[in-house]
Amino acid sequence: MLQQAFNGLVGGAFYALLALGLAVIFGMLRVVNFAHGAFYMLGAFGAYIMLSEWGVSFWLALVLVPAVLAVLGIVLERLLIRRLADLDPLYNFLLTFGLTLILQDLVRSRYGVQSQPYPQPAGLTGTIDLGPFTYPAYQVFVLAVSVAVCVAVWAVLARTRVGVIVRAATERPELTRSLGIDVGRWVAPVFGFGVALAGLAGVLAAPMRAVNPLMGADLIITVFAVVVIGGLGSIFGSVAAGFAIGLIAAIGNLYVPALSQTLVFILMAVVLLWRPAGLFGREEALS
């Protein structure tokens, strides 16, 4: 039971990292990034390619891959997403859906649909004694990194000048602009940062999950359900929902294995009935 709960938290760590990126991007740009799953997949493939082609270690990839993806995100924002910024957000949803199909098949044309192997990084291969049970060290590492990143992002948003600007631009873009702050300057970096978070999750997933072109698409749909539950407008809500859903899904799996894949969607239905704006979200204005 405890061990299963731990499994759930590790799964939730991935939900939380992806939901965090989605929420940060949504807050600043009002864009729901469908390609988030594709960037997660690129993160895993980035780590795999760096190791197999150039022998770059996991630890280096953990820094390099998100950095490369951040640049890719900034370029995509400047070239494509910005052009649709003033239109209905649905257009950017469709645009990023198109990008997902392109990225997915680009990778598939080169590597096929089979899963690629990625070894566990040296130093994290064993198990750790956690008191009541022993647990694979790598999974503990994933959970620790995820929690650390989420806390760090929170600290940046809450304590730094950049964080204040981003939060202000999220809440009242017009007012922030009229106070003399160049909101537009922060849009591309924030998008790049969100993409980097997806890439980081991808690198973390490489040693413990199947690395294949479709790994992101299935996950992102579940993450959509997670952020609907948490309330996409709330960064804290999205992260909390990520960990909570991971935990609940794992424990639910223990009692009703048949529901393992559908439980998160059932939870979403319950939340829509009870609090349509999400657990931590605010009611959106009609129109």
Partner: protein
Amino acid sequence: MTRPALASGRRNRLVLLVVGLVAALSLPWLIYPPVALDIACWALFAVAVDLLLGYTGLLSFGHAAFWGGAAYISGLIALNTGLPFPVAVLGGAAGAALLALPIGYLSVRRSGIYFAMVTLAFAQMVYFVVNQWRDVTGGENGLQGIPREFFGLDLSDPFYFYYFALPLILLGLLAAWRIVHSPFGRVLTAIRDNPARARALGYPVDRYKLLVFVLSAALSGLAGGLFAISHGFSSLQEVNWTTSGNVIMMVVLGGIGTLWGSVIGAALVVELNDYLATAGFEEIGLVTGAIFVVMVLLFRKGIWGTARDALRRREARPSGEDPEPDASAEAGTPAAPVERAGR
């Protein structure tokens, strides 16, 4: 609008209708009959999705659940009862409508981008259920050997089957046309353009949205059921999220909020997929993804919308009217429905 303009609009529509009917009847003579069947099914599916996207302003990213759900239900009815295929197809459509009731009820509680995410998530749930429920759905093998029963007639030739399937498709298209051009349809466009005002005028907005969602799902189910019967099998592909994306691409390509555009978009995409598959090109996502990106960035009005606006501008000029396309926009066919300020 002046009287002659009205008459010319009606004449144009009549000409279009005749051209469309002739095209539908001659299609299996012109192209490979199974592809003609696919075009007919996808055209109805695209029109059903456009009822929501173009005329109500709701982007459903989960219509694979209704298309695919009906494909399985129709397949099961045909396999297990041996009833004539139209009964199986209508059963599938009814099943899709029933499935849409709870999904729609929950989804219309959110609007805009959330609606897209919620419908996508529910469709994924349907996908998982179909995948796991192996005893009934066959899991990854899908349903195979679905018969085409019709009072003992031999319908194995797709060329003949096309003409037996076409009435059902035309019935569905007619229903969509009736919905759009009814008072109910006008309320839908009012909800799309200004939900707050529609509510202030006393229209129960959520109930209207739910009703059109269920109707759209039923028409999608009609198309999906027929698709399964015409192929003789139903696979997981039918309930996959890529199917939802595919049909949205048809609508966007043809032109959001134009029923004719959806039909043309469906025909083009099916033809393109067939061409690429025959050419042995496997990375279809590269092409469809690129079409998505280009359409959304450069041609948001789609093929039909762009052509219609160009035509209107040409017609408007000699009579000295305002060349703005919106000034002459007729009932139920707006220029660019979802195009409004984002925040």
